[in-house]
């Protein structure tokens, strides 16, 4: 049987490949020959980093059009590349842009998609993926062919493993029809996030409805600062518009695995637990002694977050 060819759709931040793409190269290497598809202007360092993490090939489209227009040039180039090269499997990370490109590409190819996978494997020619389902179940899911199979993988499902290889660069020279690029990126303004990034933070202080109102999030920020951690939120709080979507931890939103997770006024809906139950230690503070979050807490505190959190911050500051 020929070696399976597994492609990883890749995006850059500040010129470097994003961590989720590097994680997926680990998955891809385990399944066959790993290639990265990078459709964005990029320097040699980005290409070298992809090679060093296991990409045998980097399909590189260097055209600025990929960042000037959203989604459509990516999909056009990917569809042409897939037709020419016939890969077996494409892995996408769970970022905003990856989701947009993947869904539209699936529509173009008439293909099905597995989203939210936490592992991917083959059993003979059959693709199997593990997908957490409603938080209370784990499903094993397959896709009816033909290949290529399209799978979106959750962050941190695979480790980043530098293996020290070097990639062969194959330029992607798809002729793009400007009329098919209809969504102009007018402006991109980097947001300076305070404190450590949620996905990399060792300590996360997360808030839910139990905080009562948006202004009380300040209390969590102060505690997080004291512990050198980051602030996250449950879906309920994000839906209520208290904090931006980027704070959301859960089945939707981010998957985090910090050393310590402090859940403040979070009831522990399965959607939330799906994104944080890989945390090494969990402290839960909640008024309701029956809250589901206590089932997965190492230390459960029944009480008022608005009293306990500021007192804890003060106590830690005084040390």
């Amino acid at each position: 049987m020929a070696t399976r060819r597994v492609w990883v759709w890749t995006e850059l931040t500040d010129g470097a490949p994003q961590r989720p793409a590097l994680e997926l190269l680990t998955a891809a290497r385990g399944l066959g020959e790993a290639a990265a598809v990078l459709l964005a202007p990029a320097g040699d360092e980005a290409i070298a980093a992809l090679g060093a993490h296991g990409a045998a090939v980097v399909y590189h489209g260097d055209d600025a059009i990929y960042t000037q227009y959203a989604v459509e040039p990516q999909v056009a180039a990917l569809a042409a590349l897939i037709e020419a090269e016939a890969p077996d499997l494409l892995l996408f990370p769970s970022t905003f842009t990856a989701r947009d490109v993947l869904a539209r590409l699936a529509g173009r190819l008439g293909a099905g998609v597995i989203a939210n996978a936490t592992s991917v494997r083959f059993e003979g020619d059959r693709l199997l993926a593990t997908v957490p389902y409603t938080g209370a179940y784990v499903a094993t899911v397959t896709l009816e062919g033909p290949a290529p199979y399209l799978v979106q993988v959750r962050p941190k499902a695979y480790p980043v493993e530098p293996v020290g290889g070097q990639a062969e660069v194959r330029p992607v020279a798809t002729a793009l029809d400007p009329a098919a690029c209809r969504v102009q990126v007018v402006e991109t303004v980097p947001q300076v996030a305070e404190g450590p990034n949620l996905e990399e933070a060792e300590v996360i202080v997360a808030g839910g409805r139990g905080l009562g109102k948006a202004e009380n999030f300040r209390l969590l920020e102060e505690l997080a600062r004291q512990l050198g951690g980051a602030v996250g939120a449950s879906r309920a709080v994000v839906d209520a518009g208290w904090v931006p979507y980027s704070y959301q931890i859960g089945q939707t939103g981010k998957t985090v695995k910090p050393n310590l997770y402090i859940a403040c006024g979070i009831s522990g809906a399965i959607q939330h637990l799906a994104g944080m139950k890989g945390s090494k230690h969990v402290i839960a503070i909640n008024q309701d002694p029956d809250a589901a979050i206590f089932e997965i807490a190492d230390l459960g505190v029944v009480g008022d977050v608005l009293t306990i959190v500021p007192k804890l911050t003060e106590r830690l500051a005084g040390r």
Binding site: L102, A139, A269, V301
Partner: protein, 261 residues
């Protein structure tokens, strides 16, 4: 301006979800199902755009006949009419089959805008909007937290990882909207009464010109081959605060034990 908003009836997300072990499908009990809260933002956005520019809001759903309740709720908020794609052959549809059915209806409506939630509050795949945009050959502007239409131009502000972005396209277009776009209105009594008289147009597969093999379980590419229930419980330590912050010492002791402080 004509706006189609896709909506879905989902099991109440505040209740535990159940899966039928035989079919691997979510148990959808009509008495415990509601208009997906994530869809209310799309309905609200459409209503505001039509209040500003004039036009019509059409809500479109696929589901069992009981999904009419979710459409009534959207019409009680102010949507003008509803289309329900309902057919037994649609059961078991995955994202691809759902997008095909929705596209068949929306194509016939020729809207200026299609508005979707970023994902449904049951399966959370978020794949239908992008597939739908492709099937309808519309540009997609996603994760919008702010939207403005001027003439034939739609402009969206959105947050992505580490950045905010402004996207622009010409109508017709498809949008997905986040929870921060607008506070959904609560249906008034008058709205609820009016919704009872608004039409729900029921469509089956034959009327959409869709083959049974293209949708439902038969047309799904994604198949669940096994399902396992997972429950994790830790035997953690519990303390009860006396109302003055007395539990802080126990928390500090725990932090010391795990060497965070």
């Amino acid at each position: 301006m004509k706006i189609c908003v896709t909506v879905k009836q989902v099991p109440d997300p505040n209740l535990p979800m159940q899966v039928d072990p035989a079919t691997h499908r979510l148990v959808r009990n009509p008495d415990q199902s509601i208009l997906d809260p994530a869809d209310e933002y799309g309905v609200e956005t459409a209503l505001r755009l039509v209040e500003e520019h004039g036009g019509e809001v059409v809500v479109v759903s696929m589901g069992p006949p009981s999904a009419a309740d979710a459409l009534r709720r959207a019409m009680a908020m102010g949507a003008d009419r509803a289309i329900l794609i309902t057919d037994e052959a649609l059961a078991g549809s995955d994202a691809r089959a759902t997008a095909r059915a929705l596209a068949a209806v929306i194509r016939g409506e020729q809207p200026d805008l299609v508005i979707c939630a970023i994902e449904a509050t049951d399966a959370y795949t978020g794949m239908v909007p992008g597939m739908l945009a492709e099937l309808l050959d519309l540009p997609q502007l996603t994760f919008a937290r702010q939207v403005a239409v001027e003439g034939q131009t739609v402009t969206v502000h959105r947050d992505i990882e580490g950045a905010t972005q402004v996207l622009r396209a010409q109508l017709p277009a498809l949008l997905t909207v986040t929870a921060s776009i607008a506070e959904p209105r609560y249906p008034s009594f008058k709205g609820v009464m009016a919704a009872k008289r608004k039409p729900i147009d029921e469509r089956d597969l034959a009327s959409l010109g869709l083959e049974a093999g293209a949708v439902g379980a038969a047309g799904a590419a994604e198949r669940v081959v096994a399902l396992e229930e997972v429950r994790e419980e830790k035997q953690g330590q519990m303390v009860t605060d006396d109302g003055t912050g007395s539990s802080v010492e126990a928390i500090v002791a725990f932090l010391e034990r795990i060497q965070v402080v």
